[in-house]
Amino acid sequence: MLRSIAVALSDGLDARVDRLALPFNEYGVDPYGISRKHVRDALRVFALIYRYYFRVKCHGIQHIPAKGRGMLVGNHSGGVAVDGAMVLTSTMLEMDPPRLAQGMVERFLHKFPVSSLWASRTGQFTGLPEHARRLLEDDRLLMIFPEGARGTAKLFPDRYSLVDFGTGFIRLALQTRSPIIPFAFLGGGSAIPTVFNAYALGKLLGVPYVPLTPYLLPVPLPVQLEIHYGEPLVFHGTGDEEDHVIEGYVAKVKERIAGLIERGRAERQHRGLSRKLLP
C-alpha cells in the first residue's frame, strides 16, 4: 500500500519535471547544465520534506508569472538553506505548469564536492550579476535573498526581522525589466532555532559560519512552514539611477516583505496555530 502510494507520488513528480519549460537536450541537460534526472531526484526528496515533514502552506502562488522572467525576492529564515529548498519545491509543486526557481547561492557551495554538483544540476548558481542577468534574459525564474549570508545568520529572537538588503537586484530588475515577486518565508527560524553562530568553526570548514542550536547541530525540527507570495512589483527605469532612487525601491521591496511576514504571522495566530512552535 505504502509502496504504491510512493510510486504514484513519484510518478506525479516525474510528470511535473517533464512539464518544465526548459530546453533539455537528448541527454536531459539544458544549456546551463540543469539535468532532468537530478531535478527529478531532488524533487522526490524535497516533496516528501515539503509535504510530510514541514507540511508547508503556500499562499499567493498565482502571483508568480506562469512564464517569462521574474525575480522571487524574500527573507532568509533558518540557519541553513531550508528556505531556498522549500521555495524551489513550492514553485515545482504548486504552480501549474510547474517552474524551476533558480537560486543565486553563496559562493562556498560550489567549492565542495557533491554540493557543487547538485547545485549546478538543479540550476542553483553562484550569486553573480552575470548569472542573474543571463538567466533573466533567458526568461527564467530567479530566487534571490537580498539579505545574503547575514540573513541566515539571524538568531532565534530575531527570526522575523530583516537585515540590510543589497541593492544589486533592483538595478538588475530595472535593466532586464523583470517583475519582482516578494515573498515571506515563515517558520525557518523556529525549525532551526539558532542560538549561536560559530564563525571560527565555519572558517575552518570553508563556510561563512556554522549555526548552533540548543541541541547543537542545525538539524531542522518538524515545524510547519509557510510561504506567502505577494503581488508583483514592477519598477521602471534603466538601472543607472542614483543610489538614493535605487535605495528607495529597495525600501519598498523590504517593506512589502515585512508586511507579508506580519500578515502571515497574524493570520497564523488567528488560526490558532501559535502553539505549533511558529510565531
Binding site: N25, E26, Y27, V29, D30, P31, Y32, G33, S35, R107, H110, K111, F112, P113, V114, S116, L117, S120, R121, F125, T126, L128, E130, H131, R134
Partner: protein
C-alpha cells in the same frame, strides 16, 4: 587568397588546409612535423620552426595574404619551458613576419581555457573577461600570454585584420587534441562529487568556423562554440569509456600512473569546474551553424578511437 598555416601538420590544421584548398584558395604551411601526403593535395608544406629564419623566408617568398596561426601547443602535449618558447616566441615571430611582409589578415587560434576554471566564476564567459587561468593554472600561462599578445595586435597593428578565436575542446577523427587524449583509455577518471560541463565541437565544425572567420574577415576577439555544453560524465560514457570517480587528492596522486592520463596539477580544476563560453558575438559576426550534434560528435570519436582492450591497472 594565399593562406599560410603555421602548425599545418596538426589534425585540425590539415583539415582546414584541405577545406581551403577545396574552396579555391592557395594553401601552404610551416611545421616541424611532416605531412607526407600534402603535396598530393596541392598543398606545400615547408618543414621548419616558425621562430627560425627559414620560416621568415616562406613569408618573404610565398607572400601569403592571410595567416592562420595554429602553431601553439597545450600544457598537456608539451611540458616545461619548451612550451613557452613555442607559444610565446612562436606567436611573436608570426606577428612580426606578418607585419614585415604585408600580410592582410591573421587568425590566431586560441583556447577557451583562457578563462580558467574556478568555483566562483560565471558559467558563461564572455570575450571581455580577464584570463583567470593565470591565477589557477600556471601551466596555461604561456597560452594565455600568447592570446593576450595576439589581442594587442588589434591596436598595435591596425593594418592587419586580426581575429583571436577561443575554441573549445575539439573531438573528431583520428582523435587528436587535449580532450581526445584524455579520453583515450578504457577508464576515465573524474573528480568524485564533481561533473563539470564541457563544450565539445566536432573537428569538421571547427574547420567550418575557421573558414568562416577567414572569409568574413573577422576583426576582434571571439569565443567559438557549437552545441550547448554537456557534463563530462556524459562524454565519457557516450564515447564507450567508463567513469572512474576518485577523490581529488587520490586523483592528483594517480595522474600519469596506473594507466591514467597525465595531467598538470592545475588541470585538475578543469575536472571540477566548467569553462563554458558565450559565443553570441561569433554567431552574429559569421552566422556559424554547427552541423554535428553532441551525440554525432561523440559517436564519431567512439568509432575513430574505440575503447582499448586493456589500459594499465585501472
Amino acid at each position: 587568397m594565399r593562406v599560410l598555416i603555421p602548425g599545418i601538420s596538426g589534425g585540425i590544421a590539415r583539415k582546414l588546409a584541405l577545406r581551403l584548398k577545396h574552396a579555391g584558395h592557395e594553401v601552404a604551411g610551416v611545421d616541424v612535423r611532416p605531412w607526407e601526403t600534402a603535396r598530393e593535395a596541392g598543398i606545400e608544406v615547408f618543414r621548419g620552426d616558425v621562430r627560425k629564419r627559414a620560416a621568415e623566408d616562406v613569408f618573404r617568398r610565398w607572400r601569403p595574404e592571410a595567416v592562420v596561426h595554429m602553431a601553439t601547443v597545450t600544457a598537456f602535449t608539451v611540458p616545461g619551458a619548451e612550451r613557452g618558447r613555442i607559444n610565446l616566441d612562436g606567436t611573436k615571430a608570426v606577428f612580426d613576419h606578418c607585419a614585415t611582409h604585408g600580410v592582410k589578415q591573421l587568425l590566431f587560434v586560441g583556447r577557451h581555457t583562457f578563462y580558467g576554471a574556478a568555483p566562483d566564476s560565471p558559467l558563461y564567459h564572455s570575450e571581455d573577461e580577464p584570463p583567470r587561468a593565470l591565477e589557477a593554472i600556471p601551466e596555461l600561462a604561456d597560452l594565455v600570454a600568447s592570446d593576450l599578445y595576439a589581442a594587442t595586435a588589434l591596436w598595435r597593428m591596425p593594418s592587419l585584420t586580426t581575429a583571436v578565436l577561443r575554441l573549445p575542446y575539439t573531438l573528431g577523427e583520428p582523435g587528436t587534441g587535449t580532450l581526445a587524449t584524455f579520453l583515450k583509455g578504457r577508464r576515465v577518471p573524474l573528480v568524485l562529487g564533481f561533473d563539470p560541463l564541457f563544450h565539445v565541437l566536432q573537428e569538421e565544425d571547427v574547420v567550418t568556423a575557421l573558414h568562416l572567420a577567414l572569409e568574413k574577415q573577422l576583426r576582434g576577439i571571439f569565443n567559438v562554440a557549437g552545441p550547448p555544453p554537456i557534463p563530462l560524465s556524459v562524454i565519457v560514457r557516450e564515447t564507450g569509456r567508463t567513469v572512474v570517480p576518485l577523490p581529488a587528492p587520490v586523483l592528483s596522486f594517480l595522474m600519469g600512473r596506473a594507466g591514467l592520463p597525465r595531467l598538470s596539477t592545475g588541470a585538475l580544476d578543469h575536472l571540477r569546474y566548467p569553462i563554458v563560453v558565450d559565443n553570441r558575438r561569433f554567431l552574429e559576426a559569421t552566422g556559424f551553424e554547427y552541423k554535428h550534434s553532441v551525440a554525432d560528435t561523440l559517436r564519431i570519436y567512439r568509432e575513430a578511437a574505440p575503447v582499448p582492450v586493456s589500459s594499465g591497472v585501472l
